[in-house]
Symmetry: C2
């Protein structure tokens, strides 16, 4: 038999996500590689109660086919939640997706194709790269400084189909774009006719100050906004959303409808039941308190153990430290030895769409204990010294 595949089939990769998940499972290994929330943060009792309620009160709705846009009460809740953040999208501009990863992949197929340009931060989220790449698009780097993409230089990527930006505690670099810079980026992009895809899975995980309003607050008509319940409730339920300007909403909706009909109803209804009366307010306080301790522990361990050539900034939110070593350090090939010694990380290389340097790595601090953070960073520092 012969399998003639799409010409980009070999670009279909699993990023490192899968390898990371497999690593997390090796017994004894301290995995600083994972991007997984701490299971202790899952509100199990509330989800269980909600599941019981939904399956008692409205079983037919929870188990039957639903509309492709998603469960309307959840879309209304998302619209109101965004409103509180200064972002205006009506419920009929909200599409519920299988986690925000699917929001990214819908954007990939609606906008991209062979040779289309896509502007990305450098480094950027590895699984977004995996989603964009099989479209055959050309990645172009947005000129960035330590406050994110540089507005005055966006004209250099103005011919991109859109710019993919993670303004809050960027994965992997941990960067938070300032309020002033956000406005300047959004305004420059609008003037240039460069649409923005704003990916915001981490915005609620702040440990110092609440982040400024999203880019989408400035010009929602030029911004597609992706959000998720993965980091604040449960990633395994795969409930996220995308908010779109009306002219492009229908393409997202039509594609979603064609590819998997709709996001599973049961979990949409459970999520709505859990969040509808303000549960997240207190819950997020407790998640933030938990993660802040871990963030501080990792900052302390890095300071204590890392050679002075290593550089990092303590992130004010999110899940990751991004550590850079002198040029010539090959964090990619060191991974195997690190795993042998009992600690895992994600090589920085995985976060570059083009010309990846190898002298950086990403460390997650949320799934592991404070003791493991100390032990893991120590092992890593010894290896890299």
């Amino acid at each position: 038999m012969s399998w003639k595949l799409n010409c980009h089939a070999d670009l279909m990769e699993q990023a490192m996500t899968r390898k990371i998940l497999a690593m997390g499972a090796a017994p004894g290994l301290i995995s600083l590689a994972g991007g997984m929330p701490a299971p202790e943060s899952f509100p199990v009792a509330q989800i269980k109660e909600a599941a019981g309620k939904v399956l008692t009160d409205t079983p037919a709705a929870a188990l039957q086919y639903g509309v492709s846009d998603g469960y309307m009460p959840l879309r209304e809740w998302v619209s109101q939640d965004l409103e509180k953040r200064g972002v205006h999208y009506a419920p009929d501009q909200i599409l519920i997706t299988n986690g925000s990863q699917q929001a990214i992949s819908l954007a990939a197929w609606v906008f991209l194709e062979d040779g289309a340009k896509l502007a990305v931060e450098t480094p950027t989220y590895l699984a977004a790269i995996s989603t964009f790449r099989p479209t055959g698009c050309d990645f172009v780097d947005m000129p960035c400084d330590c406050d994110g993409p540089i507005p005055e230089e966006l004209y250099k990527v103005a011919d991109a189909r859109f710019a993919y930006v993670i303004p809050n505690f960027q994965n992997p670099a941990g960067l938070l774009i300032s309020a002033k810079r956000r406005r300047a980026i959004a305004e420059a992009a609008s003037e240039l006719g460069l649409p923005i895809f704003e990916d915001n899975p981490y915005g609620d995980l702040y440990y110092d100050n609440e982040p400024p309003a999203p880019l989408a607050a400035v010009d929602p008509e030029n911004t597609i906004y992706g959000g998720s319940f993965s980091k604040v409730l449960s990633p395994g339920m795969r409930v996220g959303y995308v908010a779109c300007p009306k002219p492009v909403y229908k393409y997202f909706l039509n594609l979603k409808s064609a590819i998997d009909v709709h996001t599973n109803m049961l979990n949409q209804m459970i999520v709505h039941e859990v969040v509808k009366d303000g549960f997240l307010d207190n819950h997020l306080e407790s998640v933030r308190s938990r993660y802040k301790v871990h963030r501080d522990a990792m900052a302390q361990a890095l300071t204590k153990y890392m050679p002075k050539e290593a550089a990092w900034q303590t992130p004010s939110g999110g899940m990751f430290f991004w550590v850079t070593f002198p040029e010539g350090t090959d964090c990619t090939s060191l991974l195997d030895e690190a795993v042998k010694r009992g600690v895992a990380y994600v090589p920085g290389e995985a976060f570059y769409a083009i010309d990846p340097p190898t002298n950086s790595l990403r460390l997650s601090f949320v799934t592991v204990s404070v003791e493991q953070i100390d032990a893991g960073v120590k092992m890593l520092a010894e290896l890299l010294s």
Copy 2:
């Protein structure tokens, strides 16, 4: 701002699925349009019990990120279930998807692209057409007779990337391919190097005799097989699967991983908990008994009311009657008047990828009551007489 879209974005359509779902909601309307299982057939008590058990015993696994392939015990169950049908795929060849619709869309992106040929039955499943079309593929009709695709003529479509076939109670035409023909199709396709995508959402919904073994039983190495829990448990949970030959499995897996990481864990574990001890055996007996009554009622109503020019075959399973009228009848434009009178159907046109005729329509008998079937068919017959 400017939205420069993928050149095929206008081919992203919702088929009629969404219009159908909306129709189902209009009060008073007898919808024979829906492709939805009867909600009375959902095993609510079992699903509720399973949800409670999963969230009590293994909450962290149900709510955390999982592997992209899917929940291993469910993949093992699927592999064993297929084995009982004479089909051999190991668990590591099974990928859990968001309903079998996503299995179809993975095949679309792994195999198809601009100008690639895709062989389909005529008519064929409307939502598969919606999924295939935005790839820019060229649809080619497989020569068919009343027993399905004609093996001796498959050479005419041998340059297609694959052939999409629904051997059991085909949607929309209700056709069941015979055992002898199945073997001949599978053998001819293997010889020609024409891979088959066998879509089997309806195989368990038989009302007369159990269908013959799937095409995949003959040559699993040349067949990709899509299955679903939508029609036998619950469509709203969006749990289906695809079984692949090893050389193509990794592409399906990598793409799945990139587009939405994995199918939601909670529902995968609930489905497994419900089915693992043989629940489906008795449950399916009761679903079949229920639907058989409806099938018989629709056969009777059609015989009683339809003009003698109308033609149909009573399907021996599945969910649909396919009714054809004399050439010149325009079932598409009659739909609005039918809805005004209080009955809905799906115009046959929606099921043709190319050159759609308009003189047929699809009627579903599973969601509506026996009384509604009689009243709906009567109204429809009056309109079409």
